[in-house]
């Protein structure tokens, strides 16, 4: 039925089914700024204005919009210069989002801006709380909302005429940002509100950075302008003729053999282009883990199998003309299952009668043993743990658990596949690992690698969830079968039941401690649940030990010879397979280690900070696990070159006001609120940077006629800002402003190889490759500058080594210069013609750990168990900070995800293996109006293994929030939690039980 829709003052005559959502109708008309994040009215990514009121287009019937004015982000503003045509430019809100670093992946940005527009129409002068409330219906998983809120406050001031557009960060802010390292400890505490923190974190600078112009500056993200306009930059925003919609028939049973499957009726349904079962495609065993070759884990997966191993496992694939036909086709598939005994509880997994992987094709890795449901096993012994326990005065033993949690990137997994004119398969996909996708899928599809091209457009957040070759094969098989383009997009429900969440674990800690607080031995046993398939099983759990158990080596003689044991069983269960999630096993480990340290300190009546620092790893010592384990490869001992932990503790302690709060009797009470208690807690953390001797990144740089450069990287910006920080490093070496670099990432045909975005390695590994390539280009630039100057002959002969690159010029010591534009034109057109271009690659021999001190302040209602986290302060040594805005955004967003892990996120299965949380209503991620105050402090150290001294920043913020919050809860009310999330009911129960004990 045809109706008239008014969108952005344009009239559209469209055909619409009675139940069709406005989201679908708008995207069909080309309004790709309207994003689909959940399709159930929970995430707000599809927010549009209908008669000036914000609505979620996904649950708004198109028919309801007839006769109303619809406004999408496309009406807000555009690039100011479009060739000879000038426009009014971006809306002040858009300008503020760009200038204030409010955009990470940009997927929720259009919705957030439209929600903010509604707010500012109603209330031109909102408070911070009102801004937070105004955008609370738009979920963001990247930013922690700090910078979007600031951007909206700024835009409001601009619209009131009180501020200049686009000037969110002033030169004064930048001056104030950099603070020299203080000589004396414990500065005065500050009780600043978040509003005054503004968009820049505090950075204690390292002296080496003094003369840099681009590295260390809060540069705007290179992709911000397109994202703020809602441009069709994401995988699903792609139009191609004749594209089919793919859907997957999913298993209703946790464990079953497919006895019989009949797809004949589905195939006959008009509009169905292909239906595939395990009988139709080659049986190729592989691992879906997006890791370097060879995969450090068992090969246990098939695109389609004759067996299903969890509720949501694949049974059949369908491609049809539209999603309604595809849904109908799924219903017409008849499956007869032979139900098998199933296994949901990991504690019963070993040698259970339910055996998940009995297929002969199973390929073991290391100590995996499919006959026992064992996907991987680890046993790492450092020093002599038994002797260490004998030397101890006290032994502390406790058990801890962590739940399965979801990455919940707002953009679901989505892929489009098609044959190009050369019969090569193009895979445009939301991936963190385009090169691994190509390598891993080649055998699965039985295509030579060279006939696959993987394109990674903008990604709407990944957080590890897209480090998995999870959905690309579905679309690819269907494109092969139907000969047509196919799009496959996970629903939000599929994200929950069938993506790759964080491994849940049961962890036992045993620690020997001397009377004076010296740790003599530390042991962890970890039972990790990899779910139905073993991707990342070994490496995630290995990192649980290798990072979280590395930080406390003990004191005195134990510093040189720590006693550490780490044993882990990683088992299969009939639940959603686990995988990579930002932090990669380490948050699980720190939950146990840091809760355990807190208990020890309190039982021995030691100061919790002093006890930790007494035993913590220091500069010049060996990373203990580097002597024993390297992701299943040969270990190489590695010395800690930089460790800012002590300064991090000092800074964080001052920022949160530890000394005015911890152990201070009156502080824990709230006047007039007899049921409230305040508490404060700490947790330390360390992580790693990249995987040594294995993961490689490469970059190429090509010069153009005008002195601009194409920077082409295989590195995968998934919203993190890596394109920007890589460009900043290139800009520093080449002496050009950021706008002269055209960054492209990534495309297996056009960009050099990069392992992808994981293991906190892009700034470090890919960054070193960029610097290498830029250095090679710089060498050509100075060579050619000397050539031109010497041809010109207006001064003494110059040598290339005497020429410096800065401000788009190659300048000699006596002040003569050639512009880069002159060099570009000369090189391409005038003399000794050449394409100035270079490629470089980098593999690291080390994985220098970043360190952090995480502080939390909470208020607990002891009657309801409700916990409100009031403040999070994280002081981080991530080496040199390339961009304080994007790095600060990483910490804020990471802490926010970790806060969800701490207090509200979990995935629970019933005894039939059915997941309880299958949408963003039941699985709650933090909204803008429930955030604590957050403060980030960077303590710079100069890591000597990197040209700009960087270490990783992306994952460490997820490591320590949960234990710091739980330690603060314990400080507040005595509730001593072994399990997260710290829900009100858990705290209430813990308090009730301890009251009953008394």
């Amino acid at each position: 039925m045809s109706i008239n829709l008014n969108v952005n003052s344009k009239s559209h005559e469209i055909d619409v089914a009675p139940g069709e959502s406005l989201l679908k109708a708008l995207r069909a008309e080309g309004y790709y700024g309207v994003k689909q994040g959940c399709d159930t009215g929970e995430c707000g990514a599809c927010t549009v204005l209908v008669d000036n009121r914000p609505v979620n287009a996904c649950v708004y019937l198109t028919r309801q919009a007839e006769g109303k004015e619809i406004e999408t982000i496309e009406a807000s503003g555009e690039h100011p210069e479009q060739g000879w045509k000038l426009t009014e430019g971006l809306h002040p809100l858009q300008q503020a989002f760009v200038a204030g670093g409010a955009i990470q992946c940009g997927f929720c940005t259009p919705g957030m801006i439209l929600a903010a527009k509604d707010l500012l129409t109603r209330n031109p002068n909102p408070s911070e709380a009102e801004v937070r409330e105004g955008i609370s219906g738009v979920l963001c998983r990247c930013t922690g909302y700090v910078k979007p809120v600031q951007a909206i406050l700024h835009a409001a001031a601009v619209l009131r005429g009180e501020a200049e557009p686009g000037e969110m960060i002033t030169p004064d802010d930048i001056d104030a940002l950099f603070i020299s390292l203080p000589e004396s400890p414990a500065q005065e505490t500050s009780e600043e509100t978040q509003t005054s923190v503004q968009v820049l974190p505090k950075v204690l600078i390292a002296p080496q950075t003094k003369n840099w112009k681009h590295v260390g500056q809060p540069e705007q993200k290179v992709d911000a302008v397109k994202l703020v306009q809602g441009k069709p930059a994401f995988a699903a925003d792609f139009e191609i003729r004749g594209m089919l919609i793919a859907k997957v028939l999913k298993s209703p049973l946790a464990h079953a053999r497919i006895k019989h499957i009949d797809v004949s009726e589905a195939r006959e349904l008009p509009g169905v282009a292909a239906v595939l079962t395990h009988k139709d495609i080659p049986r190729v065993v592989y691992s879906t883990a997006g890791q370097s070759h060879p995969i450090p884990g068992p090969l246990d997966s098939f695109s389609l199998d004759n067996k299903v191993r969890f509720v949501g496992d694949r049974v059949a694939l369908v491609a049809a003309e539209n999603s309604e036909i595809a849904d109908q086709a799924l219903k017409l598939i008849k499956v007869e299952y032979e139900e098998l005994p199933s296994l949901v509880d990991s504690r019963l997994a070993l040698d259970n009668e339910a055996l998940l992987h009995d297929q002969p094709e199973y390929v073991d890795f290391a100590e995996s043993d499919a006959s026992r449901n064992l996907a991987a096993r680890l046993h790492i012994d450092i020093g002599d743990v038994d002797q260490g326990f004998e030397a101890a005065d006290h032994i502390f033993e406790h058990e801890y658990s962590v739940p399965k949690v979801q990455q919940a990137a707002i953009e679901p997994h989505v892929v489009i596949t098609y044959w190009d004119e050369d019969d090569r398969l193009v895979i445009r996909t939301s991936t963190q690992v385009p090169f691994h996708v190509r390598r891993i899928l080649a055998p699965v599809l039985q295509l030579p690698l060279k006939r696959i091209r993987v394109v990674k457009p903008r990604i709407g957040g990944g957080f590890g969830g897209k480090q998995e070759v999870l959905i690309e094969d579905v679309a690819a098989h269907l494109t092969i079968a139907a000969g047509r383009p196919v799009i496959f997009e996970f629903t939000r429900q599929e994200e929950f039941v069938a993506a790759r969440p964080r491994h849940p674990m049961h962890i036992k800690m045993k620690t020997g401690v001397k009377e004076d607080g010296t740790i003599t031995a530390n042991e962890m046993y970890c039972l990790a649940d990899t779910g139905a398939y073993g991707s990342h099983a070994l490496t995630v759990t290995g990192n649980t030990g290798a990072k979280a158990m590395a930080i406390y080596v003990g004191d005195g003689e134990y510093r040189q010879n720590p006693n550490i044991r780490f044993v882990a069983d990683i088992v299969y269960t009939n639940t959603t397979p686990s995988g990579a999630f930002r932090g990669y096993g380490v948050p699980q480990g720190f939950w146990a280690v840091e809760r355990h340290m807190e208990r020890i300190a309190r039982e021995l009546e030691l100061d919790p900070i002093e006890f930790r620092m007494k035993n913590a790893l220091r500069e010049g010592e060996l990373q203990p696990f580097s002597t024993a384990w390297s992701e299943g490869r040969e270990p190489v001992p590695e010395t800690i070159e930089t460790n800012g932990l002590e300064e991090c503790v000092r800074q964080g302690r001052a920022a949160i006001g530890w000394d005015q709060k911890f152990g201070i009797e009156g502080w824990h009470q709230v006047s007039g609120k007899p049921t409230l208690r305040k508490g404060i807690g700490i947790s330390l953390a360390m992580h790693g940077t990249a995987i040594p001797y294995l993961d490689m990144g490469a970059a190429s740089i090509k010069m153009n006629d005008d002195g601009s450069f194409n920077l082409m990287v295989g590195a995968t910006d998934l919203g993190t800002g890596s394109d920007t920080v890589l460009a900043q490093m290139a800009a520093e070496v080449l002496g050009v402003p950021l706008e002269d670099l055209i960054v492209y990432s990534s495309d297996t045909d056009f960009t050099p190889f990069d392992k992808g975005a994981y293991a906190s390695s892009t700034t470090y590994i890919s960054g070193a490759a960029v610097v290498g390539a830029a250095q090679k280009v710089a060498d050509r630039l100075t060579y050619r500058a000397a050539l031109i100057l010497n041809e010109r002959g207006d001064g003494p002969e110059v040598n290339p080594s005497e020429i410096r690159l800065a401000d788009r010029r190659a300048t000699t010591q006596d002040g003569r210069f050639v512009t880069l534009e002159e060099i570009g034109q000369h090189a391409l057109h005038q003399g000794e013609q050449e394409q100035i271009m270079a490629v470089d690659s980098y593999v690291s021999p080390v994985a220098p750990p970043p360190f952090a001190a995480q502080f939390a302040e909470v208020t607990v209602d002891i009657e309801t168990g409700q916990v409100v986290v009031d403040k999070l302060v994280m002081a981080v040594d991530a080496g040199i900070i390339i961009n304080p805005v994007t790095a600060g955004g990483q910490i804020e967003g990471g802490m926010t995800q970790a806060l969800g892990y701490a207090v509200c996120e979990e995935m629970i299965y019933d005894d039939k293996g059915v997941l309880r949380e299958q949408n963003l209503r039941d699985y709650h991620i933090f909204q803008a109006n429930e955030m604590p105050q957050m403060e980030t402090i960077f303590v710079e150290t100069f890591e000597p293994s990197h040209p700009f001294g960087v270490k990783a920043v992306a994952e460490i913020p997820t490591d320590a929030v949960a234990p710091a919050v739980a330690n603060a809860i314990m400080d507040a009310c005595g509730a001593d939690l072994n399990v997260i999330p710290a829900t009100p009911e858990r705290i209430w129960k813990s308090l009730k039980e301890s009251a009953e004990l008394k």
Binding site: P18, G19, R63, R921, H924, P984, E985
Partner: protein, 287 residues
């Protein structure tokens, strides 16, 4: 999803006719948030959808000091939250609306739709029950009125019969102090673990009228009549407040679900009712 028809009748008569002509696979809807989700998930297989949005009889917000508040069933949650008159005279109702869902859902989700969906956790019901609100229901055979406390029959079930439309909610003039408290694991957009609404009228330190309504702790939103009886015609003390709170906790019949165990919910009712009563009592003591 089956293919189906869509109607937007312009008069009440047309709306009534559409549903009696059809089989029972026709559904009235207002904002459309829930029906859209139910269609997508396949819970609902409608053949015909009838939008009520053009019916002027279902629109409007009207407040008169003597008659109280009349709310058309199409009143959106956003209007309940942001209309000054409602906020000034019925703050509990305004608060309850403002704590539901998100701004973008409140923009078009309606009062009528929320009540007709009859979720046990529907947050608007407790304040309306506490306020003594009355629903006006129409069909082609006439009109009748039902107190909101009698409107719900079970999860997803109301007194509405085939072909009947919820037209209007009338709320008596404000009488006493009201309060709404919602307890959720996190602060916002969550469905209530439990929620309560209380209206209290004190005269000379004696409880003249009290209504305690509980949400999310029984198949339907509930009035804690025994707890009310405990307090009727008495001055408040910490003793009878605590007793009434305990009685309220015994009166409800919560279940174990994703948002909390029955035991926890029961205790939270006790805590919230005690806090609510104490807070209202304090307000009176201040005057």
């Amino acid at each position: 999803m089956k293919p189906f028809e869509h109607h937007s009748p312009n008069s009440l008569e047309q709306a009534f006719d559409l549903i009696t002509q059809d089989d029972n696979n026709s559904y009235y809807y207002a904002g459309g948030t829930d029906i859209n989700l139910q269609l997508k998930s396949g819970i609902l297989a409608a053949e015909s959808l009838i939008s009520l949005k053009n019916l002027s009889e279902l629109k409007g917000i009207e407040y008169k000091e003597n008659n109280g508040l009349k709310l058309g069933a199409l009143t959106t949650l956003r209007e309940l939250q942001r209309t000054k008159t409602i906020y000034n005279h019925y703050p509990a109702l305004s608060q309850a609306a403002g704590l539901m869902a998100s701004e973008q859902i409140r923009s078009f989700a309606t009062l009528g739709g929320n009540l007709c969906n009859a979720a046990p956790s529907a947050d608007l019901a407790p304040p309306l029950i506490a306020l003594g609100a009355i629903a006006t229901i129409s069909s082609k055979f006439g009109e009748h009125k039902v107190p909101i406390e009698d409107f719900f029959l079970g999860p997803g079930e109301t007194v509405l019969e085939e072909g009947e439309i919820l037209m209007q909610i009338t709320v008596p003039p404000p009488n006493g102090e009201t309060l709404f408290i919602k307890h959720t694991p996190r602060m916002f957009m969550d469905i209530s673990v439990v929620c309560i609404a209380i209206r209290l009228l004190m005269n000379n330190g004696i409880c003249n009228e009290i209504r305690i309504a509980l949400g999310a702790v029984a198949p339907v939103p509930l009035r804690a009549v025994n707890a009310e009886a405990e307090l009727a015609a008495q001055p408040f003390s910490s003793n009878n407040i605590s007793r009434a709170a305990q009685i309220a906790a015994e009166e409800c019949s919560p279940i174990n679900d994703i948002r909390g165990t029955a035991a926890y919910r029961r205790r939270m009712i006790e805590v919230l009712v005690r806090r609510g009563l104490s807070s209202l009592n304090e307000n009176y003591s201040k005057v």
